[in-house]
Amino acid sequence: MNSKENCWNCKSIVKSKGFFCDHCGVIQKPSYLDEFEIFGLKKEFLIDLNVLEDKYLELQSKLHPDKFVNSSQNEKDFSNEHSSRINESYKLLKNNVSRANIILKSNGYDLEKESKTFGDEKMLEDIMDLQSKCMLAENEISKKKIGNEIKEVIDETINELNLLFKKKSWKEAYNLNVKLSYLEKMKNNIS
């Protein structure tokens, strides 16, 4: 993957992970980069979302198909591929659960493949408990209250998850991420 490649346009040698040729400035065929690499970020669970957004807009400003309306078909296609990948990666990195999942996946744990069951009883109980509170909430005030409670639990879970990632405890992190995905869903349903 790290081997040198040639620019399709001027044939000079380009860095394999660049978006443009250093020599002629022409857009390059997308080479495979993972979501973090695209934005030049370290593969860590906690990222600065402002940095992510700035980087996202910077890349789109250069690579979006609107910049290539009058270019060759090759350039149009490359721009479309880059821009699509950037949109998709941005969406995945913005969200806690899918961001955690990317890291877990690269370490052999795939949220989509594993069955979404809870690793331990305690976790299941916590979720069921919140779930029934949600069901009982009838008016705006009690909904708001339970909504805030869920938000607090989410924050705690994120902190815990961060520690697990630091310790490289993938299995535990995987289980906790399943919990987080349920919490996020609950939060969306109640608001």
Binding site: L57, Q60, S61, H64, P65, D66, K67, V69, N70, N80, E81, S83, S84, R85, N87, E88, Y90, K91, S191
Partner: protein, 599 residues
């Protein structure tokens, strides 16, 4: 002595090829604008009008379009609101032209585009080939493709499709320097769109979009007419003859528009020979349409909730579309949201204005980034008739998603994939965009093959689907598209090369039309080539192949007559085959066992 006109030479730094008009093809009216140099101008027809009614009156061989049709005695026989049909089936030939030939919504829209192009060229005294075309944000993929196709057929090269509310926000951002979170409320003649945008320096990002593609001024006219008829004549609409019904509705449109300036007035209304002088007032009208306006408020509210942006963080509502002149619209918005309202760019013109600005940017290097979203979720039908989402609504485009499928029976060699768009759980409640069959899968035990399907939505919101059998590597690019199987990329190529190579406008259009027809026909034949090879005699196959080859060669050239001639010949040579197919009553074009896919 000859004087050299220096001014003209200086003005020539913009060649005709660089100009790109913004075209707002509306349900009621169409508007064209263009930015040349530093100035944005609206293009007027020969009557000096900027708003061009989107109507076509077929009178024998004649087609009368726009403001000319309004002046005609036979005006009520015109085809109105053709844009509304793009939500149904734009390809279906359910209309009649002046010579009783069946035509589709696309054919009619094509006439309007041709007219708009022609009258804009007359106004500017320049040839115009490029446009940025606007569409309602909530239009689905099929409606988008249909509109784009109609524009292509008129000889316009559609450089970009953009959403109407986004276009309006672009105009406000650039002309009025708006920065912050803005909510666009766009109520036109046939459609209702809302979009929430974040406007910052050099970046215009759509956060979310929603709407109703079947709610607009036309519906208010109907409701108003209904109520008048009910209250003052004790009649229902079904009791009126078609012509009288239409004329009453058109009258109500006029009364409705007058009510935005006057609170009340008297009007003589004649129904079934009975003339009554009726006091028309705003309250009466408001009652007729209130339910629909409440719906627009609910849709707006839901979008705000979904985006998790508190109303306090909204810097303003931008009003777009002629129907926002109805007084009650503003009242309802203020009552529910208590926000600042902006309508200082003419709500009829602002969409085309934004499109013109974007067109200019596309041709001269885009300085402002426009990031838009897809309005509807896209997915596939799974077993049991459910929809599985692949790309969810409000995802920024362009976007690519991959999904891997497998077979669920031993030895299965083909998979059928049905592509859906919409938000409902069951597939039958969503829009079917198209079906495609991936054949040639190596026969293996159930669950073993891995078929990777790629769903790509481009910046115009047009879908491209391709699939690869990861074990054999067979790739089949299938574009979910019109019934003749011609995709937007092919069409754009045809239009671009025809523009370059045709002598005049007429020739250009003929070339485009015959090439589109030829390409579509070749694709159709390609899909049944296997059957042709098994069913037809050797002599027939040779003949068919010869004409296919000749037609393909001719498609590289620019002679419309020769292309048409070959289409005719190819059609003739495949007639016996078509008959055989009907006789055999083929159940599927592949003739192989196909099954619903299983994940």
């Amino acid at each position: 002595m000859n004087l050299i006109n220096i001014e003209e030479a200086n003005n020539k730094n913009e060649t005709d090829e660089d100009i790109c008009i913004g075209l707002d093809f509306g349900t009621t009216n169409s508007v064209c604008a263009v930015k040349i140099g530093k100035k944005t101008i609206y293009l007027e027809d020969k009557n000096g009008k900027k708003l061009i009614p989107s109507i076509v009156l077929y009178d024998g061989e004649k087609k009368i379009i726009g403001n000319d049709a309004v002046k005609e005695k036979k005006f009520l026989k015109s085809i109105f609101s053709i844009k509304r049909y793009f939500n149904k089936n734009p390809e279906k030939k359910v209309f009649l032209d002046g010579q009783n030939i069946n035509i589709s919504a696309i054919d009619i829209a094509k006439e309007i585009f041709t007219y708009l192009k022609y009258s804009s060229e007359n106004f500017l005294k320049k040839e115009l080939n490029n446009c940025v075309l606007t569409v309602p944000a909530y239009f689905d993929e099929r409606a988008r493709t249909g509109i784009m196709k109609a524009a292509f057929m008129s000889g316009l090269n559609v450089k970009r499709l953009i959403n109407e509310p986004t276009s309006a926000a672009f105009a406000y951002g650039l002309e009025k320097n708006k920065r912050g979170n803005y909510f666009v409320y766009d109520l036109g003649g046939g459609t209702f769109d809302v979009s929430l945008l974040k406007l910052s320096d050099g970046i215009f990002k759509v956060i979310g979009t929603s709407g109703d593609p079947n709610l607009g001024g036309d519906d208010f006219d109907d409701l108003f007419a209904n109520k008048l008829l009910n209250n003052f004549f004790n009649l229902s609409m079904s009791k009126l003859a078609e012509e009288e019904k239409l004329s009453l509705i058109k009258k109500c449109k006029f009364l409705k528009e007058r009510l935005s300036k006057e609170d009340e007035f008297f009007e003589e209304i004649k129904v079934k020979g009975l003339v009554k002088k009726i006091k028309i007032n705003r309250t009466f009208f408001n009652e007729a349409i209130e339910n629909l306006l409440d719906r627009t408020i609910e849709i707006s509210d839901n979008l705000l909730k979904e985006s998790e942006l508190p109303v306090e963080n909204i810097d303003g509502f931008i009003l777009v579309g002629g129907s926002t002149r109805i007084k009650l619209v503003e009242e309802k918005i203020l009552k529910r949201f208590d926000v600042k309202i902006f309508n200082d760019i003419d709500p009829d013109l602002v969409v085309s204005h934004g499109a013109a600005l974007h067109g200019y940017e596309l041709m001269n290097g885009a300085k402002n980034l426009l990031l838009d979203v897809t309005p509807l979720s896209l997915g596939i039908e799974t077993m049991g008739g459910l929809m599985e989402k692949i790309i969810s609504r409000n995802t920024t485009i362009p976007i690519v998603k991959e999904q891997t499928f497998t077979t669920h029976e031993n030895g299965q060699t083909a998979i059928k994939i049905t592509i859906l768009q919409g938000e409902r759980e069951t597939s039958k409640n969503n829009r079917t965009l198209g079906k495609f069959i991936l054949s040639g899968i190596e026969p293996k035990s159930a669950g073993i093959p891995r078929i990777k399907v790629v769903f790509a939505l481009d910046v115009d919101g047009i879908l491209f689907v391709s699939a690869v059998d990861e074990s054999t590597g067979e790739e089949k690019h299938v574009v979910v598209k019109t019934d003749d199987g011609l995709n937007i990329k092919d069409m754009r190529d045809i239009v671009e090369s025809s523009i370059k190579n045709a002598k005049d406008d007429m020739q250009k259009r003929m070339l485009i039309e015959s090439k589109i027809k030829a390409k579509g026909f070749l694709n159709e034949i390609d899909a049944v080539k296997k059957d042709i090879d098994t069913l037809c005699s050797k002599k027939d196959i040779e003949k068919i192949n010869k004409f296919i080859k000749m037609l393909k060669d001719e498609l590289e050239k620019f002679d419309a007559d020769k292309i048409n001639d070959l289409i005719e010949k190819l059609n003739e040579s495949t007639k016996s085959f078509a008959q055989m197919r009907i006789d055999e009553k083929f159940s599927s074009i592949v003739g192989e066992k196909t099954d619903l896919l299983e994940k």
